[in-house]
């Protein structure tokens, strides 16, 4: 039974490592490392796409032309634009520590993040769609998944958000659609400038309290470092990037509960 929650702050890392580091840690937790809260932010902008999503949802030509790397992650959700204004956090725990439905697991592993947001002065709440929000706007992009026998929930403190870039990466059928999508994104996704260091300290405290563990600064294990090298290669392989075939989407999501249908320009 774990008594310690390892805390690792990687600081600023390359786009690739801002994905592979936490995947490697999740594999480590699956193999016996203690529950781990990790932090990092990407040195340069890039695009991340969810495990099941189609690359065709992205305007790949635009990404290529603007030098945005694209990486497929092993957790859920859609394609997202990420940059240094987004301070990532990840909580990885053994599956045995989680209870209940998937929704309950996600909510219980996001609740400490909500507490951390609130402790740095942001009036955040976990809404009915399990989005961390202020009013109707989502303020934290999250996703979750099971990696080996570890469960990982990822999220971010968004101190600045480039709505234009975030909307532009998505393949949209018409300029009118793209404008509508950008308008909705500006309405429903917002940054919450807060001190990232204070947020990280508050998150370490709230996650440790929630899990009943003692937070301790830590480093990656040898096993995790080996896995990291493997993941670096895997995430740059075309086959991995292309992923598994998934159905063609009929809409593009702005946030949970707010989507724009490809067949009609309306909020659904």
């Amino acid at each position: 039974m774990a008594t310690v929650m390892r805390v690792i702050d990687f600081g600023e890392v390359s786009p690739l490592r801002s994905q592979t580091l936490w995947h490697a840690i999740a594999y480590g937790v699956s193999a016996g490392s203690p529950p781990t809260l990790s932090f990092m932010r990407p040195s340069h902008p890039y695009v991340s796409i969810g495990f099941h999503r189609r690359l065709g949802e992205l305007d790949l030509e635009w990404c290529r032309a603007t030098g945005l790397p694209v990486f497929r992650r092993m957790v859920g959700g859609g394609p997202v634009y990420l940059d240094g204004g987004q301070h990532f956090f990840q909580i990885s725990v053994p599956e045995a520590m989680t209870k209940g439905t998937r929704t309950q697991t996600i909510r219980s592993l996001l609740a400490p993040a909500v507490e951390a947001f609130r402790s740095v002065g942001i009036d955040a709440h976990l809404d009915e769609h399990s989005e961390i929000s202020v009013g109707p706007a989502k303020i934290c992009g999250h996703a979750a998944g099971q990696i080996g026998s570890a469960v990982v929930v990822v999220g971010n403190l968004i101190t600045s958000f480039d709505h234009q870039a975030a909307a532009r990466i998505i393949a949209t059928p018409t300029p009118t659609f793209a404008e509508a999508y950008l308008r909705l994104m500006k309405e429903y996704v917002r940054a919450t400038p807060a001190d990232p260091e204070a947020f990280r300290a508050a998150a370490a405290e709230s996650y440790a309290n929630e899990l009943g563990l003692v937070p301790e600064p830590g480093v990656m294990t040898e096993h995790e470092l080996v896995r990291l090298d493997e993941l670096d290669m895997q995430f740059q392989e075309l086959e991995w990037l292309e992923g598994s075939p998934a159905p063609v989407p009929t809409s593009v999501k702005v946030r949970a509960g707010v989507s724009l249908s490809f067949t009609a320009t309306e909020e659904i």
């Binding site: 969810g50 439905t101 998937r102 309950q104």
Partner: protein, 150 residues
């Protein structure tokens, strides 16, 4: 086909179950075992947004991952309850994951496999009485834990 309403869930009691993974198993023909998600699994998974099953023709050991599903941005594995070669996957559930919730025992089946170790069947929950008791126990546990609403 026989089914029972067990604490609010319609459960077929003529099938075998891997309750830990919320899978039903129709093993009437060992060379063509059909597998699907049980109604309790449907309830606790949340609304399925994505379901991807690996292509047929591959051999798996019991408990190995044969695909993945996503609900509420949470990606989890689909495992096989028996060892064997997957011989078919339901093409309709990938297109319409909601089928699994709408008709878990019918159109929402997941995959079929040719079982290679019949002795594993003994480790599944079978028989009307055992299935009923197993589901009652599991549902009560989930309710006590707050996993299921009354």
């Amino acid at each position: 086909m026989s089914e029972q309403k067990i604490l609010g869930f319609i459960i077929r009691t003529d099938l075998a179950y891997d309750l830990a993974h919320h899978l039903w198993v129709d093993a009437a023909r060992p060379h063509q075992v059909r597998v699907g998600m049980d109604p309790l699994g449907v309830e606790t998974s949340g609304t399925l947004a994505q379901l991807v099953l690996h292509a047929p023709g591959v051999d798996y050991l019991r408990g190995q991952t044969v695909g993945s599903l996503e609900a509420e941005k949470y990606v989890g594995p689909v495992v096989t309850p028996l060892s064997g070669r997957v011989i078919a996957v339901n093409p309709h559930v990938a297109e319409h994951p909601g089928l699994v919730a709408r008709d878990p025992y019918g159109e929402g089946w997941l995959f079929e496999l040719a079982s290679t170790d019949p002795s594993e069947l003994a480790e599944l929950l079978t028989g009307e009485e055992q299935v009923t008791m197993g589901f009652e126990e599991r549902i009560r546990k989930y309710r006590l834990e707050g996993v299921l609403a009354e």
